[in-house]
């Protein structure tokens, strides 16, 4: 436990806070912190988004017996940066008879929604922008705002494909929002808190997926499936469905506006993976097994930020693995799956978890 503090970021962040407060008025300090945080997140967001695009291309390439990008830089590392430069320089095509204001607004809505969700994520010990006491609630609420952007994009493009894609996306996210919430509720019941930092602390002696055994594993699997649907990724990528709707809601977008959608999609994937890692796999908490002191100490030597990103990327890989294996569902089957299978199972699981917690049947 002492070792954990070596890697804690709280000393760093509090010292910055202190020096800022010493140097200027408190409101100025807060404002500067806002700006600083915003800048850090922007850079992090962009870099992570680019890396995720690169990762996806490499993962799918290996799955498909290919090499993947290998021209720009060593192992094609700078491929996505080259792509970004290309996207930046591309023409922004204006669509005839499109609703100009909404058309331009939509990418921002989508990207802001995913950007806001980042604020509540605990990246490492002491590295969390804002530790809300309703953290999970906030993340769910904010991340589902993205669908508004998708609907606006589909509506304002004045394209039939876009409209169909947007409508599909609307139906899909409204349905799957329920299951995502219920699956996350499992951990809220276990830990008795909605504050993300408390949930992470509660896993110091074992992750919830182990402590909660069968119901927690079940909730984890359900969360993975519904979260994949929530972020419009294959096999649930009906909003894009390139073989049916060419590119779905972003058919008419080009250049950097398209890049916003693209980036937001990948960042949403990161966010759901991070939530899964935080809630089910202990977040930045190292792998601790109750009673094994030596083992726990060795695990503590690994910095918490590595633990967090390691777990997140494992889940991201699983989500990618889904996409590159399965055929796409049909829209009615997608809704069937949610309302006839996932939601009932989730409800039953929630009841079981409440029972398990009441009787104290989970590992403490």
């Amino acid at each position: 436990m002492i070792l954990l503090d070596i890697y804690s970021f709280s000393t760093l962040t509090s010292s910055i806070d202190k020096s800022l407060n010493d140097a200027m008025a408190p409101w100025m300090a807060t404002l500067t912190e806002f700006v600083l945080l915003g800048l850090v997140f922007l850079i992090f967001y962009a870099l992570l988004g680019l890396f995720l695009v690169y990762l996806e291309r490499k993962v799918c390439a290996v799955i498909q017996n290919r090499i993947g990008p290998n021209r720009v830089g060593k192992w094609g590392m700078f491929q996505t940066i080259a792509d970004l430069i290309k996207l930046l320089m591309k023409e922004l095509i204006t669509i005839k008879n499109a609703d100009k204001f909404l058309f331009n607004l939509a990418p921002f809505v989508v990207i802001i929604a995913s950007f806001m969700a980042m604020a509540a994520l605990p990246f490492a010990k002491g590295l969390q922008a804002i530790d809300l006491n309703i953290g999970i609630f906030y993340v769910i609420a904010v991340s589902s705002l993205g669908v508004v952007g998708i609907l606006i994009a589909g509506w304002s493009s004045n394209s039939k494909y876009s409209l169909i894609g947007a409508m599909r996306s609307g139906a899909q996210i409204i349905s799957y929002e329920l299951s995502v919430g219920l699956a996350l509720l499992a951990i809220v019941i276990f830990s008795g808190s909605m504050q993300l930092s408390t949930i992470v602390e509660s896993q110091a002696d074992g992750w919830w997926i182990f402590k909660g055994h069968i119901p927690a594993v079940f909730a984890f699997v359900l969360y993975l499936i519904t979260a994949t649907a929530e972020i419009n990724r294959g096999p649930f990528d009906l909003a894009e469905a390139e073989s049916e709707l060419t590119a779905g809601f972003h058919t008419e977008y080009s250049g950097i506006k398209f890049a916003f959608f693209f980036l937001a999609e990948y960042m949403n994937m990161f966010i759901v993976a991070a939530i899964a890692a935080t809630l089910f796999l202990g977040g930045w908490m190292p792998l601790h097994i109750g009673g094994w002191e030596g083992f726990n100490q060795i695990m503590d030597y690994i910095p918490s930020i590595i633990w967090f990103f390691g777990k997140t990327f494992v889940i991201i890989y699983i989500i990618m693995w889904f996409k590159w294996t399965f055929p796409r569902l049909r829209i009615d089957q997608l809704l069937n799956l949610e309302w006839k299978y996932l939601l009932p199972l989730n409800l039953i699981n929630t009841v079981i978890i409440s029972f398990v917690v009441l009787m104290g049947l989970y590992f403490k």
Partner: protein
């Protein structure tokens, strides 16, 4: 009750089938030795095309800059697309008589459909397949080629003894 069993059975079967699918892709993910990508410009040094590869029609010349084309025009006649044009001229042979000889054997690569009829029907085996396949050019006119090299002449037929 029956429907509940079916419901659960459906879920079980579905999950199993999804897992078998994921095992296939997972198997290839952990075996990078299966990668089949050909790294084209890098492997140029080792890239060996098949002997019969139809890259383009060429006219082999020997070391004396001599070819075997008599300018008979059978290839031109057999080409279904008109991608061969034969321009002949009259040159004196060793006896001083004016005989027909090839001036230009023009080959429009852009029009060629690689049906092999010209090569098949050539009575003197003057043309054959070349293995070059890098035909991308910026200007279409560069795909029109003259197959006989400048200054080349007809190879003398060796008299069979």
């Amino acid at each position: 009750m029956n429907s509940v069993v079916r419901y659960i059975n459906d879920i079980y079967k579905g999950v199993v089938s999804l897992w078998t699918g994921m095992r296939v892709t997972g198997k290839y993910f952990i075996s990078p030795g299966e990668i089949v990508t050909e790294q084209y410009p890098e492997n140029l040094a080792t890239l060996k095309m098949e002997d019969r590869f139809k890259g383009e029609v060429i006219m082999p010349h020997d070391e004396n800059n001599q070819h075997q084309c008599t300018g008979c025009g059978i290839c031109e006649m057999n080409c279904p697309n008109g991608s061969i044009e034969i321009i002949t001229k009259r040159v004196p042979n060793e006896n001083g008589k004016m005989v027909r000889a090839i001036d230009k054997h023009i080959y429009h690569l852009a029009m060629c459909t690689f049906c092999e009829l010209c090569i098949k029907t050539c009575p003197s085996n003057a043309i054959t397949w070349g293995q070059d396949f890098e035909h991308a050019v910026f200007d279409r006119t560069r795909l029109t080629k003259v197959l006989n090299k400048p200054g080349s002449s007809l190879k003398k037929k060796e008299v069979k003894s």
